[in-house]
């Protein structure tokens, strides 16, 4: 009780201070308006950016008698240099002095805007807050002497990575483009696949300090209105200083925090996202991250690779079965080994039992400890393998495979059978396409091993039942995580364990999309026609 109290008090303290801070900040900034003096405007911007060295200020004189002073402000590296050249060129050289003589109906600002600025996205701004945000996100600001407003010209030119093959999900057959860190590129990759006016992109800004752009993408008419509303609601509720990656958003909007399972699907593949959008799901794109999250997501989705839809249905079905089988191996192999060796030796055929017993003769540890040792070693190796520099990779694999594996067996610390079980588990784990599900299995495996060591197979069954109960309590944006198995929906079985031929997948998942279920009206007779994939 006292611990809880202290925790709550601390939480409250933090909450109140952060709220006050934001309130005062926003109050301060909203009141600041631009003034007519160019000097003081520039000074103000400089001060509020703390004289940051990447702010470039250039003052030019234009007009008939060079009497109009214009300050051009932009952030170095955030804008397109060629576009800036054009802008300055048209301001200094191309503009006719007669065009910018203000009359009664036109002001200087609108004159310049009309005649000098050749770029598409332009707006007039009157307060510092918006202006600074714009300068920091790739706009050039034109401040004009004696005018209390600024022209903000959008010429963003960020340094960006080209579209490359995604590292996290490779495939043999299928498109090789992956999302990048640039939001504009990502939306264009989606648009390119779905050229429909119904693909709606709604923009949001999250993060008090980072002001990260977040886009909600869905297909109007397919996505359930309730889910779109819920996504908006949950994103609006986020009150945090920084969103640096999609993972941050994912963690803040998921239904259940206390679970090892991912309840939100994330991918780097635009084709996968497009497919899910067409099933009526909602995608969330975050600027600065090549990962896109899709809600609501079900457990079966983590077993589906996008390649499944690009090859023959029977082969894809076989691969699906293989993945589910691998899921169980990765989850249970070490614990079954422990349970059988410790409690149920009678299950093994005699010859196998004798050979395992002979291997284990000189080993000082019980099976559980042996398994724990090997599993931990492997987890360490894997983590080291992910984080280490590429150059030392070779040394690592030699140390890992030869020195640890071989030597451990020869030194009589672990048995050969155990090494086989552990490596099989590890390889099976890699078969699961979604990395975040694979990680959660790694975690649960240790719990299963402990249960197997204490209660044998009864313990393993206990673990499985508990796991099932846990999975059944999970929901992703209101949709039961285990559907369409539980609740069982016959129509949706076409794309779960089996991958039915595309012509038979005429309906969208029921629970995700209630209003527009039928997706095509094909019948097998139309087979000779060539059809593009989903």
């Amino acid at each position: 009780m006292p611990g809880r109290l202290v925790y709550r008090t601390i939480k409250n303290i933090f909450r109140t201070t952060s709220k006050d801070e934001t309130a005062s900040q926003s109050q301060q900034q909203e009141e600041k308006k631009l003034v007519s003096s160019l000097e003081s405007n520039i000074l103000e911007i400089k001060n509020s950016l703390g004289n940051s060295s990447d702010l470039v200020i250039r003052v030019i004189h234009i007009g008939a008698e060079n009497n109009i002073k214009i300050g051009v402000l932009y952030t170095d590296g955030m804008i397109n240099t060629a576009a800036l050249q054009d802008l300055l060129d048209s301001l200094i050289n191309k503009i006719k002095p007669s065009d910018i003589v203000p009359t009664d109906s036109t002001s200087l600002v609108s004159d310049i805007r009309k005649n000098a600025v050749t770029v598409g996205e332009v707006e007039e701004i009157k307060d510092f807050n918006t202006l600074i945000t714009n300068i920091l996100s790739g706009h050039a600001a034109l401040l004009i002497e004696n005018e209390p407003q600024a022209i903000s010209v959008s010429i963003p030119g960020l340094e960006k990575r080209g579209v490359e093959e995604p590292q996290s999900a490779t495939l043999i057959k299928g498109p090789r483009d992956g999302f990048t860190e640039t939001l504009g590129t990502n939306t264009s990759l989606l648009r390119r696949r779905i050229r429909s006016s119904n693909l709606w992109l709604e923009s949001k800004e999250i993060g008090r300090v980072t002001k990260t752009r977040v886009i909600i993408a869905y297909i109007k008419g397919l996505a359930s209105e309730d889910i779109v509303k819920e996504v908006h609601h949950r994103l609006d509720k986020i009150n945090i200083d920084a969103i640096l990656e999609t993972g941050n958003v994912e963690e803040l909007i998921q239904d259940e925090t206390y679970t090892p399972f991912p309840t939100i699907f994330s991918t780097e593949r635009p084709d996968a996202v497009a497919g899910k959008l067409l099933e009526g799901r909602v995608a969330i794109l975050v600027d600065g991250s090549p990962f896109v999250i899709v809600v609501p997501s079900l457990m079966v989705e983590f077993f589906q690779a996008s390649e499944d839809y690009y090859q023959r249905a029977d082969i894809a079905t076989f691969l699906r079965f293989l993945r589910f089988f691998c899921f169980f191996i990765a989850l249970l192999a070490p614990s079954l080994y422990i349970a059988v060796l410790t409690y149920h030796q009678e299950m093994l055929p005699t010859t196998l039992l004798v050979s395992i017993a002979a291997q284990r003769e000189g080993i000082p540890f019980p099976a559980f400890f042996e398994a724990l040792l090997m599993e931990l070693t492997f987890e360490i190796l894997r983590e080291a393998g992910v984080r280490m520099p590429r150059a030392v990779g070779q040394a690592m694999s030699i140390v890992g495979a030869l020195v640890l594996g071989q030597a451990a067996v020869q030194a009589g610390i672990v048995s050969n059978a155990m090494v086989i079980v552990v490596s099989m588990t590890a390889i099976a784990n890699f078969c699961i396409p979604a990395i975040n599900l694979a990680i959660s299995i790694r975690l649960i495996r240790f719990v299963m091993m402990c249960l197997a060591a204490v209660f044998g197979l009864i313990g393993v069954m206990f673990g499985i039942v508990l796991l099932c109960i846990h999975l059944c309590t999970l929901r992703s944006f209101g949709v039961p995580y285990t559907s369409p198995f539980a609740p069982f929906i016959l129509q949706d079985q076409k794309d779960t364990l089996f991958r039915f031929p595309l012509w038979s997948m005429f309906s969208r998942p029921r629970l995700i999309n209630q209003n527009n279920v039928i997706r095509e009206q094909n019948n097998p007779t139309s087979k000779p026609e060539t059809r593009t994939g989903k």
Binding site: P349, L457, I458, M461, L466, C472, T482, P487, F488
Partner: protein, 373 residues
């Protein structure tokens, strides 16, 4: 206490199947063969018919109840106080049922699989499962059932296929020799273990079904599949082990699984087959526990039942060692008192309630028509 949880008719069938097969798989072959020897399959088929009739009877009761659960209905019919007292009898029945099933599970595992583990630990293990699932609610229970029933049927199918080589049809002969008296006893046992406990589903149908109109056939089909699977196990026991061996065993179907040996590779897989019993006992216990907790919450008229699960679960763990102090007491009590107790709880009280309600309603409508005319 108003709960807006709804399960689908299909989920109801799943729960019915798991509930009827629960402990029945494990113990009924020996009770049946003890009475009617190799004719046990005949009595179990007759038993199925009676069970189907019973499930139809429960559906009829459910129709009268409308959108109320059983305890609310009892309060309606008998008045608040008497209704609550009869409701308490049912809570007591389900509470005992939960404790007894924990005990069954404990006896089974400690005698057959984990002989050195203290029985209380296993009771606590199962109790953790049922507490967590009932806390999560009926929907989660039903969904878990859908996930697990596939495994029960796969294992059952595997067992049947693996045992096919060991079947000796002559074990069924001589046929039709059991006396009608023995048949009656066997049928009463069958119905008391597999059919009459279905009375607890009156807490679920029709209140918690999203399509009550479809619930009827799904409930009856569930009963049919469940009791049918039990009959298959009984027949298999007779065909493989023989009637007299089956009757002598405490857990004949477990012994059945022990005899599996395919090409000397798949052998002694009874520990895996135990999955069938563990899963179905878990669901039977969970349903009993759910009904006892929900019933108790209904009687106390509290806002929700979730907070009652932990104390009630702990109480069942304590009573699970008291209720059956040893296996002898268990077999004695189950043989002597269980059938009459279940006939009273599962048939006589609901029937009496139904008749009283009908009479009351007729009386009321007559009164109403009298006053209007």
């Amino acid at each position: 206490m108003e709960e807006k949880v709804r399960i689908s008719p299909f989920q109801l069938s799943v729960l019915t199947i798991l509930f009827t097969t629960g402990t029945t798989f494990l113990i009924i072959p020996s009770t049946m063969t003890a009475e009617t020897k190799q004719d046990a399959w005949v009595s179990s088929i007759l038993g199925i018919i009676i069970c189907l009739g019973l499930s139809y009877f429960f559906i009829v009761c459910g129709r009268e109840m409308g959108r109320k659960n059983y305890i609310q209905y009892l309060e309606d019919v008998y008045g608040r106080l008497l209704g609550k007292m009869i409701g308490l009898l049912y809570v007591f029945f389900c509470f005992n049922g939960t404790a007894a099933l924990l005990s069954y599970f404990g006896f089974f595992t400690t005698t057959q699989m984990l002989t050195t583990t203290p029985i209380e630990v296993l009771h606590i293990l199962l109790a953790i499962l049922i507490i967590s699932v009932v806390r999560a609610g009926l929907e989660v229970l039903a969904r878990t059932g859908e996930l697990m029933i596939i495994w029960v049927f796969l294992l059952l199918l595997a067992m049947i296929v693996f045992l096919l080589p060991d079947i000796q049809l002559e074990r069924l002969t001589p046929s039709f020799v059991a006396s009608p008296m023995n048949h009656t006893k066997a049928i009463i046992n069958f119905v008391a273990i597999a059919g009459l406990p279905l009375v607890v589903f009156l807490m679920i149908i029709p209140k918690h079904i999203n399509r009550p109109d479809l619930a009827k056939w799904n409930f009856i089909a569930g009963t049919l599949i469940g009791t049918g699977a039990v009959t298959v196990i009984i027949v298999l026991c007779i065909l493989v082990l023989g009637a007299s061996t089956t009757a002598r065993q405490l857990y004949p179907s477990y012994v059945l699984a022990k005899t599996i040996s395919v090409f000397d590779i798949i052998q002694r897989i009874e520990s895996i087959m135990a999955g069938i019993w563990v899963i179905s006992i878990f669901f039977k216990t969970a349903i009993y526990f759910y009904v006892s907790v929900v019933g108790f919450a209904q009687i106390l008229e509290v806002k929700n039942y979730h907070f009652l699960t932990i104390p009630m679960g702990m109480l069942t763990v304590i009573f699970s060692t008291i209720i059956y102090p040893n296996i002898e007491f268990m077999s004695h009590w189950d043989a002597k008192y269980w059938p009459p107790y279940l006939i009273i709880m599962g048939f006589i009280i609901p029937l009496f309630t139904l008749i009283t309600d009908k009479i009351k309603k007729r009386f009321k409508s007559k009164k109403a028509s009298n006053s209007t005319s």
